[in-house]
Symmetry: C2
Subunit: 457 residues, 2 copies
């Protein structure tokens, strides 16, 4: 024990540690797509600025990509290019593996192989972590390696670091994020230009803001992956993507966006994770937000995450949520942090999910019918006296009170009038009951449109 | 060497380090004012959440405050209360000193005494660090201790951590911040309610948003302290408050705020630090910002810092910039970080000013007459033909072109008309020359009003 204390002092006094630190951090880069090539370029272009900060270089030793020719062209001399990523993760001259391949299958095998070979891992793969995170983090712990994933949520915005460290003094109450740029671009354009969803989607695809198959984005799956990770970081709960409620933006109409505007609201696709007495809420859905809130004014492909915490109150983190260089900024920040902390004792590392293993709580994810929010309701009704009275009575019967209303008279061309209601906060189960009874009324036509409302004050 | 390597392995394998880490971090809290009592309360109220994250407790051992009676009441049993802060910093049973006294004199002595006694320091004292930072940071380095000051800029917003670590992969181009809540409250109210400066100042004082002597806030000195620190963190330059250009909000009129609004702008007091080819800009002044920018919509006492960096692009950090619990959130985050990293080798710490000592560059702070911005100009002129032509000719003579203009005719009561001009970007020295020639015109009355404009795109 005395010996240990003595040598601890030596390390504190900066000898061995510095010798080790002056060696470059050696990186294997798996996947040379958008983010992979951005990572390569940021490390190259900002090498001197990074060394000014960190004191030693971060060196890409190996690049693995199926297109070895393209990889060789980018890499230049001094970097080994491999077609087989599994070969890369096993190499002895590598400290960190950066997984930028994506998907659940090969990426998972590679990440686990890297961890089992004692390499630290940096990844931007939210899908992988949201689904297989618990398994991956357990493997990392067993192997004393770090898994860093700042790039997996909100691209270049350092929101994971902010939640894990910047807000570490707080009990976090909720996280609400615009964390899918494709959806935010579409909703911004629908509002700005009064265009329908499908037109804007086509435009987004033409601009490269939406994939050829945009399902993961527009159906809210990508946002759900990200809010799943943020909920774990904020509350110290396991990763539980399978319990998230997910509703995308495909059914939103430009009329709803315009009515919302008239009522003083913007419609955004939010990922929401909230801690309540009853459990954790974990949900993705279109949401009306008061226009005067800062987050309601985040437009285009930009992302923003609002965190409400008990000491600091609300804080918001805004920036580019995707793109080659912004995402690479987060990947390289993780590399820098690993370079620093991999030299330090394990216990001085920030835990992978922000909480100590013993501190993780298996809080229940609340069923949606127990969730409390306000609601925007739109319905087509017969344009005759008494209809509104029927509708509001059914709402009142289910403990739902009304905050605001817009009524649009029937025009000569169509026979139905339109009612838009904004409710006070109420239990979703009650709203479901009221809606099915309202839809059963003879005077009400077609299904009712329902969008949740969050005040975010 | 072999022995050292062997024991390093032991530490990596988590024995001694964990033994040390399970001991609480022992804190001396100097000053029990707004932030001091907030720090005490956050550590108490969030103790279990903090321990879930950190794995060990943070313990206030000593409180020093002139009002020992009040301190004893708050502290309860188990905490020593001292009237003499100098006694507290010397104690052997203390790891960290939290300086929340404020000011330049006693606070400086205490911080240096703590450092020389081998204690880490956490402080919210931007004035002290902006003026004496270089001396304090040098002393800390000589004594292998950390100085952490997240609470000194933008209260609870983790913007210092974001710049030092989250954006570490980037070359930062500029930082522009609303970093004085008092000024932002006053400007928000002047715009909202169309009230003059002095009325709103009185109101702010009544609300406790402005001090009895508000000079430091409204003259921009507080914002200059903060932007001085941010400029060092962003660019790796020494702390050089004495070279900052400082202009407060006391001369702003509600008319200017309204004209700005008509032109599509909001007026904010910004602290700006920008890296240019010629040198570093370091300046605080009222600024017109396009209303559609997110930062232009930050209202009331809230703070926000916009950082433009070469890989990630613009990111923004928003939240409460002052107040007991928000500021305490930052103080306690620093304590948590010190608790973790004080156990690790020196070289794994993030440098106090984000850059390695060898990486710090003594870049010149640019004189204001070399700074390039656009300008808002307002002048009272005779209401007769030819005046505008004279004015615009003098601007053109000095390479200043005009982007937009508002002309307000003379009313019957007063004889002068008013011209408001928005220029394109130009060199401040050229504007100064043009202004003095314009003011010398017979047809121009009284001094011209000049407010800088930043696009922040």
């Amino acid at each position: 024990m005395v010996e240990l204390l003595a040598s601890w002092k030596v390390i504190e006094n900066n000898t061995l540690a510095d010798l080790k630190m002056n060696k470059p951090l050696r990186v294997a880069l798996l996947g040379l797509g958008t983010v992979g090539s951005g990572t390569f370029n940021v490390l190259k272009d900002n090498a001197s600025e990074i060394e000014r900060r960190v004191g030693f270089p971060i060196q890409i030793k190996v690049i693995a990509d199926l297109n070895t020719e393209k990889a060789r062209e980018l890499a230049g001399p001094g970097v080994d290019v491999l077609g087989d990523a599994f070969e890369a993760v096993k190499r002895d001259d590598i400290d960190v593996v950066v997984e930028l391949i994506g998907g659940y299958t090969i990426a998972k095998q590679l990440v686990l192989a890297a961890i089992n070979a004692g390499k630290h891992v940096v990844t931007a793969n939210k899908a992988l972590l949201a689904v297989h995170g618990d398994e991956i983090f357990a493997a990392a712990e067993a192997n004393n390696v770090m898994v860093a994933f700042e790039a997996a949520v909100a691209g270049g915005i350092p929101v994971i670091k902010s939640i894990k460290e910047g807000l570490a003094a707080n009990k976090i109450e909720y996280v609400a994020g615009i964390i899918n740029g494709t959806c935010n671009f579409i909703l911004s354009e629908m509002r700005d230009k009064g265009l329908p969803f499908l037109d804007v989607l086509a435009q987004a695809q033409a601009f490269g803001y939406a994939e050829a198959d945009p399902t993961f984005d527009i159906e809210g799956v990508d946002a759900a992956h990200k809010i799943t990770l943020l909920s774990s970081l904020a509350f110290g709960v396991p990763v539980q993507f399978d319990k998230a409620y997910i509703e995308g933006i495909t059914k939103l109409t430009k009329e709803d966006i315009q009515f919302a505007e008239q009522l003083g609201y913007r419609v955004k696709l939010l990922g929401i994770a909230k801690r309540t007495e009853q459990g954790v809420e974990l949900r993705v859905h279109p949401t009306l937000i008061p226009s005067k809130r800062l987050i309601a004014n985040v437009e285009g492909v930009m992302n923003a995450v609002l965190v409400k915490a008990n000491a600091v109150g609300p804080t918001l983190y805004y920036g580019a949520g995707a793109g080659s260089l912004p995402t690479a900024s987060a990947v390289v920040a993780d590399l820098i942090e690993i370079a620093r902390t991999s030299q330090a004792p394990l216990s001085s590392r920030v835990p992978v999910l922000a909480f100590q293993k013993e501190g993780v709580q298996n809080l229940e994810v609340l069923a949606m019918d127990k969730v409390v929010t306000a609601f925007y309701l739109r319905l087509a009704v017969d344009d005759r006296p008494g209809v509104l009275a029927e509708v509001t009575r059914l709402l009142a019967d289910n403990q739902i009170s009304i905050e605001a209303m817009i009524q649009r008279q029937a025009t000569s061309e169509k026979e139905t009038a339109e009612i838009v209601l904004l409710t006070h906060r109420c239990v979703e189960g009650d709203v479901n009951k009221a809606i099915s009874r309202i839809e059963a009324l003879d005077s009400v036509h077609g299904p009712l449109t329902r969008i949740r409302v969050e005040d975010l004050s």
